[in-house]
Amino acid sequence: MKMRISILRLLNPILFSLFIYNCSEDPLVSNLDHSGLTINTLTIDNISAQNYSVAPNLGTNESLYLGTKNGLNIPVSFIEIANNAFWSYGFDSTILIDSLHFITYSKDSLLLQNSTPNLFFSPDSQFDENTSTYLDFSTFSNLDWVDLDQPLLKTNNDTSGYYLYTELIWGIDTLMESLIDTSDSNLVRSFALQFTNNDSNYIELFSEEATTGEKDPKIIMYYRKTIESGDSTIIDTTSATIYSNGDLSIIDPGEITLSPDVIGLSNGKGLRSIINIPLTEDSLPAGSVIRSAELILNYDTTITNQTYNVVLDPIDNDSLALDSNFVYEFDPYEAMGYPYRVSTDTEDGKCILSVKEIMQNISLGNVTNLGFKLISNEKNDPFETIWFDTGESTTSARLEIIYVTN
């Protein structure tokens, strides 16, 4: 036993040194020119494109428009006020509604009373924020609506006296019964803004998408509430805010003239494009991986000189015979969306879209290349149009791919 313990004592440091032996692996510097991996490029410039038009819908825009600008006419804007528990105050014997104000907001410090639109009311559903277009209102008339006249203007400044915003305030006390009408099970509190004179006025207001309530179109209900507390009676004078739950500017693009060598994008005109990039499963060597793939579109900065956000989305349905002169009620093309949808801001006459993900999957055979839908981001100014060159010139659209192959 003594011998065994002494042996273990002898072995311990040896075993320890072996087990903690510091494995090291210094890389050898060598010439790897015979490596199978190489970097290559592929340029595709025979890209074709075609415009098509979809009746514009500005339901998600952060502004409400009215009037005429850049050749586009917005005859009417709609606002729908939400159902709310405050409407039941009209039947509460302890509450006395003093007044109702319909308010919208503008950032125009020069707004004049005579440049403001009239407000109209209808107790029926008049529009769908997401789908209604000018095609639905070709025969629109406000004759059946209640005319609430023009608003009062209230300019708001900060404590230093700098301009903040202007409130357009309509007194709508006369609508009290209509707004709280419980006999109407389908009551929809629809309001419309329209210029009643034929002046080419133009006004831009905040829509409900612009802020989180602060500058949304709204109705403010001023009321007094009687509170019995023991022997005493307290009258509380206060207000409640009821926000809009939908608004929409109806925009009429009119006639659009298109050139075959350019493609245009415009939210206001409903202008969209289809792009065909001839990349197939065989365009790249099998097993290649794309490091970068940039679709480069050039535009005329003299026409579009502000930043414009462009969206490219691969098409998911079979191609159809596209009629560029026809205005589609809905977009005839379904798009794939995430993760292949990409967007970018234009800059210095170029729109560079990174299409690496979709191009890699096309080359892998995972996705069929049915073309791409090029659209304007819904947040873009609807009165701006961007025109891309797609002709034979050196500034026409091209796809530049850098890939690694084995």
Partner: protein, 402 residues
């Protein structure tokens, strides 16, 4: 060759195990037993379980390259059967495939009005193991025979990458190996103190490989694996690609050769032994994928080993008589397939300590080698330290109840 990062065969890297020292055929573990030579196993009095662990360092002086690692170098279990035959099983590494190369220059290429700098690298890990089933039979006091049935198996994983624009694009591959080689051993005692040994090696199934090349990927998260650990997803998404069909390549390693050994007692417990051998690899190795990064391999090897051995006394109680000393010199001459040549001169010393009457033994050995390459000016130095422990016991013997 590991200092240069291109892997090596373990049987050309120092000692096979600490118990046998520099030699393979001639007895060194005991006066009549070599654990590497099955034709001597029937001389064991007990069954042995023997393990050897080694630490290796290969260095290249002129370029300060140094590669080191430690691993199990041999595990063997031998059961003698009635002093006439034996059976044994062993597991040991056969081929180390660790490779780590980087490009000597940062290169550049131009694309779309931009200049990109890029660098390439290559690393491979893994290797091949050898599982041996061995047996021996003693025909008479002069002649004995041993056979190894040697199953080669294992896998390696390699990454070839090209880095530019921030992160590397990686080509991962996995190679699975299998093959069978056999060794036939003969032990011959012509005189009392003079024994001859021979070994003949041949391939029953030359080594073959199944190569699975994965799709190239952009290693965005830089961990060398094609994965999707958020927030950085490798590109393309791993689920979106398929590996190439498995490619089978045969005849990668097809060794044939012989070795002769002579063992002569100089004194009662001191012996001299010498082994000469020649091994040839008949492999085709034509697949360019496996030739990368070096399209050359060992085609034939001539070896010479000389050893001086001092065995422990069987019954002495003196400490010094329980020690086993072995020292030796080895010389290799490797001819590569395409002209180049590698020579190696190595020295080893080892000491073993025998304890308990049944012959348990602890061995410690050190090897220093010096390799020279015909096409490279620098020398490679190999250092190896091994420790082995061998435990003896009676197996498969019905013991009387106490």
């Amino acid at each position: 060759m590991n200092a240069f990062g291109i892997g090596h065969f373990y049987h050309y890297q120092g000692l096979n195990n600490a118990m046998d020292g520099i030699t393979e055929l001639t007895p060194s573990f005991q006066s009549d037993v070599s654990l590497s030579n099955p034709s001597t196993w029937h001389n064991l009095k007990f069954a042995y379980l023997s393990l050897a662990y080694s630490g290796n360092e290969n260095s290249e002086k002129t370029s300060s390259l140094s590669n080191g690692y430690s691993s199990l170098s041999n595990a063997i279990w031998v059961v003698p059967i009635k002093s006439r035959s034996s059976i044994g099983f062993s597991l040991s590494p056969y081929l180390d495939q660790r490779i780590n190369l980087i490009d000597q220059d940062t290169l550049s290429f131009e694309a779309y009005d931009s200049t990109y700098a890029y660098a390439r690298s290559f690393d491979r890990s893994g290797g091949i193991l050898s599982f041996k089933v061995s047996t021996s039979y003693k025909f008479n006091d002069r002649l004995s025979l041993g056979i190894n049935y040697n199953v080669l198996f294992g896998s390696s994983r390699q990454n070839e990458s090209i880095s530019f624009g921030g992160n590397p694009v990686v080509q991962s591959s996995r190679i699975k190996y299998n093959g069978i080689t056999n060794d036939v051993y003969i032990g011959l005692s012509l005189l009392k103190d003079l024994r001859f040994y021979a070994k003949y090696t041949f391939s029953m199934k030359p080594l073959e490989a199944a190569i699975e090349k994965k799709h190239l990927f952009d290693d965005v998260n830089g961990n060398g694996y094609h994965d999707y650990i958020p927030p950085y997803y490798d590109f393309p998404f791993p689920d979106s690609i398929n590996a190439s069909p498995e490619l089978r390549v045969s005849n990668l390693h097809d060794p044939t050769g012989f070795k002769l050994g002579v063992h002569k007692f100089l004194m009662d417990r001191t012996a001299f032994s010498m082994e000469v051998g020649r091994m040839k690899d008949n492999a085709n190795n034509e697949n360019p994928f496996l030739q990368f990064p070096m399209p050359n391999w060992i085609n034939s090897t001539n070896s010479l080993k000389v050893s001086l051995l001092h065995y422990p006394g069987n019954f002495s109680l003196r400490f010094i008589d329980k020690l086993n000393f072995k020292g030796g010199v080895t010389y290799y001459e490797h001819l590569l397939k395409f002209d180049d040549e590698i020579t190696e001169l190595g020295f080893s010393i080892g000491v073993g300590f025998k304890f308990k009457p049944i012959g348990n033994q602890i061995d410690l050995s050190y090897y220093f080698g010096n390799r020279e390459y015909s096409n490279i000016s620098g020398k490679e130095f190999i250092q190896q330290i091994q420790i082995g422990i061998s435990l003896a016991d009676l197996w498969f013997v019905k013991r009387r109840q106490k």
